[in-house]
Structure formats: structure tokens, C-alpha cells
Symmetry: C2
Subunit: 177 residues, 2 copies
């Protein structure tokens, strides 16, 4: 458990390289080692199902929510994405303001911001006013909006130097998902 | 457990930014979710003791070794560092060639390579010949030598965009260690 004097950080893992969600998972493990109350919210449904981490979360009893089922890449369905993004954000807002967690991961949350399904300014203003000060918040995903980077305490860009997919090596269970 | 047909990746997390060891911990969690046999070898003793992750590893029964006690920054004690680095590498070699693990993390292993306490060419040649093909190997730390980057399958540079220490925010338990 955390002491209330601790400073909750807003952490952003962004960039094109691999390791963003993976680093967030590392924070989950580290925080779990200290008995933090942890909640992970996946904003995009992953094609791989994320079996390794979802199963691990189940085993260590970390709360894990997979949202974003139904997001589409079709341009004519932007209203659907807008509504789904707002539903997911309302869900996240409840978790954030519940005071029930020490660490919340908003996995791939940069995408609804980047695509404009959510208004970045409104989201940041809400966080500024409503996030409990001791809560650590981690946001992952490519293309983090500049305003999010400005508002965050810690930002790391995962830069791709070499990627096994480029060499024709498929995603590996336990490593990629 | 893994099938033998899987391709063991050599993964390097390097760069000045935060998230290298953390991403390796994320791989530990994901792989543990799939019942991989995991070993973590810390090549430098951390000042923070890494309490969160060491405690988590104990709780999920991941093998964890802290080596590198006694490394010094004094220039006149390079012989000590050389000997300690070779001891640690021999230990890692035994774990790697034991066929007892599916995932091995060599945490902060770039430093003995970068400082020349170990010969990078000799280390890579040994890995090329002796690492069991299905074993996933993860190496973290700044200043990864170019030959290591060349030999690896996946390399991500953690690039520092913003660091809370720069703003006078101290390391936070459960997040930083």
C-alpha cells in the first residue's frame, strides 16, 4: 500500500518501437510487488488477445478491462468510434476518480486522442482536476498528442532500432502477446 | 510451456530514457502468464534495491539473481571490475546453456560490455554457438555496443523525452523501484 504523501506520476510510453505496453506491464509487476491496487484498461482490442498478460493479470488478481471492441477503420463509421471512445473514457473516469487504485494503466489511450474521437484538451483538464494526487497513471500508444506530453511527468519514446517483423520473424507467444 | 519450434529472440532495450528494465519486467510478467521458465540476472546492484520487482519475483517464484555487488567506479580498481564481470558472465553462461529456461533477462548487461570488462565479440560468439535456439534472451542497459545491436533480433531505444527527476520529483516506490 502507498502512503498518501506519495506523488502520483503521469507516465507516457509512446513512439513507434516495441516496448510501450510491455513497459506498462513491468510497472504492473513492480507495483504489484508492493501491494499496489492496480487497474489496467485496454482501449483497443488486440488482435493477438494479449494472452500472456491477460492470463498473468488473472493469476495475480490485477483488475483488467478490455474495451474498444467494435472500433473500426472504416471512414464512414467514425460516429461509432466516437461513441465507443466516449463510453470507454467514461469507464476510465469512474476508475480514476474511484480512489480505489494506486496505479491505473490506460493502454493504447493515445489512439482515441490522436484520432480526435476524444478531445485531448478536455481529457487533460478533467485529469488535472479529478485525478487523485497519489494515483499513478500510465498512458501508452503511438502518436501521443503534444499537449499530453506537456502535461505528463515522465515521457519515454520507444524508438524502433530493429524489429523482428522486418526480418520476417513472426510474433512470439510470451514475448509479443 | 513453449514448443521447441518457437524461435528464441535476442531482445535489446537500450537508450538514455526510462523503461528499459521495466519493459524487461513486462516480458517477465507476460511470459509468466504462459508458464515460461524465467531467470533474471541483475548485472549491477541497484542503489534502490529494486524492492518492487524483487518482491514480485519472489511472489511469483521467478528465479532472480543479483550479481555485481562490489563493482566500483574507481579507476584504479578496474581489475576488480574485470574479475567480477567475468564471474557474473560465467554464472549467466551456466544459466543460458542449462536448457532450464525459456526466458532469461540479463539486466544492465550492456555496462560490462560497454566498459570493456567483457569482450563483446567473445560474448556474442559464445551466444551464437551456445544459446539454445528456443531461449529468449533480453539484454538491458544504456550504450549497447553496435555489435550487440547488429546481432540482436529486436532493439528498442528508450529515448528520454521528459524525466521527472529533471523536475525535481524523486523516484517513486512501485514505479521507479
Amino acid at each position: 500500500m502507498r502512503s498518501e504523501s506519495q506523488r502520483g506520476l503521469t507516465i507516457v510510453y509512446t513512439g513507434e518501437g516495441k516496448g510501450k505496453t510491455t513497459a506498462a506491464l513491468g510497472l504492473v509487476l513492480r507495483a504489484w510487488g508492493r501491494n499496489f491496487r492496480i487497474c489496467v484498461i485496454q482501449f483497443l482490442k488486440s488482435e493477438t488477445g494479449r494472452w500472456g498478460e491477460v492470463e498473468a493479470a488473472r493469476k495475480i488478481e490485477v483488475e483488467w478491462h478490455i474495451l474498444g471492441q467494435g472500433f473500426t477503420r472504416e471512414d464512414d463509421d467514425q460516429r461509432v468510434n466516437l461513441e465507443l471512445a466516449h463510453q470507454a473514457w467514461r469507464f476510465a473516469q469512474q476508475k480514476i476518480s474511484s480512489n480505489s487504485f494506486d496505479l491505473i494503466i490506460l493502454d493504447e489511450f493515445t489512439y482515441p486522442l490522436h484520432y480526435g474521437w476524444l478531445d485531448t484538451g478536455a481529457v487533460l483538464e478533467w485529469l488535472e482536476n479529478q485525478k487523485p494526487p497519489p494515483l499513478h497513471l500510465v498512458i501508452t500508444g503511438r502518436s501521443a498528442p503534444p499537449a499530453l506530453i506537456k502535461a505528463a511527468d515522465l515521457v519515454t519514446e520507444m524508438k524502433k532500432i530493429k524489429h523482428p517483423f522486418d526480418q520476417g520473424i513472426k510474433g512470439q507467444p510470451g514475448i509479443d502477446f
